[in-house]
Symmetry: C2
């Protein structure tokens, strides 16, 4: 294993300090916790807290800032943060209007965020939660009951975050987040596995001509191993599963994310985007917004995922609203 | 070689179409050329054109937009664009106030951009050029006379672009670009080489415990091969060469870029940034702005570079000015 680290024990803490060092105008760290919150502290609006295991950067700390998250909790690599860490984040960001937890559907995350919500509720803080489960690759997985939550989570941060910034109350912010969740689907693939630092070797092995279809974001293998094909054919396979959901009809409008898994050059993501856009056009689906890049990664994994989000006027308005965070700035 | 492509021949063209498909509000492609220009066309200010071989994404097309570039010319992977392509870009963006070419110091780029400048001058277009040579690793290289131009180029785009946007004339935009060039230095390293699609194999081979110090951005080997060490020690080596330039004195203010080479997880770049910031603080050098991410890549290379830019009031003002491009948005 070759990585740009100082050791496996302090990676997450050093990373968080490195983020604060880079973006002091956006984020600060809660003393003694692996939690980033907005530099300005709690605000008078509904607050959003997300997080999960580390290794998905810029998720989640990169999305802390105006128009997106108020706090992000960073567990160890691919490991749920403990309830006490989430609880501290909730207390730090609540300004009296309540807190929405945005959880990716992994069993550990759901359990620990729920425990933290109960602890905060005991303090009289209004807490609601939504669980993102956008990955169409599998119905259940090693670490989930039900579908996994992956890159589509970023659209929940953006849109629910903008709703909160607009002054919507907790009930409405939750309703809007759930509408995003109902309308967003993703599927990914890998050319090569990632290497978890503490493990020291790739989480699965692929031959020089093999790819893995339907991977998650925690180094778990996918649902199908096959010979590599042109990226257009690979994208067609991912899109076929996404279209099978029956959400994306002729005439609808979508947002698209072509998400790199961490080790994939931007050049290749743009090549994939060209084809995805053509396939959507042929289906009479218009694209209101496209994100191409590393949004929800899996350490150094080479591969990508495709996410489609069906928009209505409300979702589109909040998707296009301003945001100002380390990893997502929009004017 | 495993890559997310359809074939080696059309990668650049497909990538450019994929960029336009993603960001139609920012960029359009010149019909029949591998050139991206602002979607709004020529403006009444001094225009900036940059570019070079492809494989450095988001450079350079990702920086076309308000406050940065007006046009970007994309050669084949790691290959200078031809003079006629640069010439078309110049003609397309000139609005009468003249055009500044921002060239990374590689022999082919300098020659071809200069030929294009001569062709445009024959048409009566005012054209000036600056050559970025920020890489302190080598005095001359395989493909350059003098130092190579690498990630520091992005600061030239940002600052000279903001100067042009503010209404500065061609002479002043060039003066400011040259001040950036005088004050910016970079150095990089790799954990693993990149694979040029047409070559099909890594451009050099490293053992499982080896790194390469002083790499460029075109797959060329570095100046020193050694055993891997903690990232703090690696960063110290890069910084030592940069500090030896005698530019970054106690009490000065800098901008920092921790640039990923394309295959490096953001987590590792933030770990590096923590240490760089501490080293600068110990030297009584303050950091006005930090960029961490994939700004000037080398395909799928794993590694990073450190760039320091010494600021004065003028450079800082333009660095902090708004920008709105696909890969760099600042409010």
């Amino acid at each position: 294993m070759k990585k740009l680290i100082n050791g496996v024990d302090n990676i997450v803490s050093e990373m968080l300090d490195g983020m604060v060092a880079a973006y002091p105008e956006y984020v600060k760290r809660l003393d003694g916790f692996e939690v980033l919150v907005r530099a300005c502290g709690a605000s008078k609006k509904v607050a959003l807290v997300s997080g999960g295991g580390s290794g998905h950067e810029p998720s989640h700390g990169g999305y802390v800032g105006e128009g997106m998250l108020d706090g992000a909790v960073a567990g160890a690599v691919f490991t749920s943060p403990t309830p006490d860490q989430v609880y501290e984040a909730i207390k730090a960001v609540d300004g009296g209007k309540g807190v929405l937890l945005v959880i990716k559907n992994y069993t550990g995350d759901v359990m620990n965020f729920e425990m933290a919500a109960d602890m905060a509720a005991d303090d009289g803080i209004k807490v609601e939660k939504v669980v993102v489960a956008d990955d169409v690759a599998v119905e259940n997985s090693t670490w989930t009951t039900g579908r996994r939550g992956i890159a589509g989570t970023v659209f929940v941060h953006k849109i629910a975050g903008a709703a909160a910034e607009s002054g919507a109350d907790l009930e409405n912010v939750k309703r809007i987040a759930e509408k995003v969740i109902a309308n967003v689907r993703s599927m990914g693939m890998a050319l090569d596995a990632c290497t978890v630092p503490a493990a020291g070797k790739p989480s699965f092995d692929l031959q020089d001509d093999e790819i893995e279809i339907g991977i998650g974001i925690h180094g778990e293998p996918g649902v199908n191993r096959e010979k590599i094909s042109p990226v257009n054919a690979i994208a067609d396979k991912l899109l076929a599963k996404i279209f099978a959901e029956g959400i994306y009809d002729s005439g609808c409008e979508v947002a698209v994310m072509i998400n790199g898994m961490g080790g994939t050059p931007l050049m290749e993501l743009f090549v994939a985007n060209k084809h995805v856009k053509e396939v959507l056009a042929a289906k009479n689906i218009s694209v209101a917004k496209t994100l191409v890049g590393n949004y929800m990664t899996s350490l150094d994994m080479e591969g990508f995922s495709i996410t489609l989000l069906k928009l209505d006027d409300e979702l589109k308005k909040f998707l296009n609203a301003p945001a100002n965070t380390p990893a997502f700035v929009q004017r």
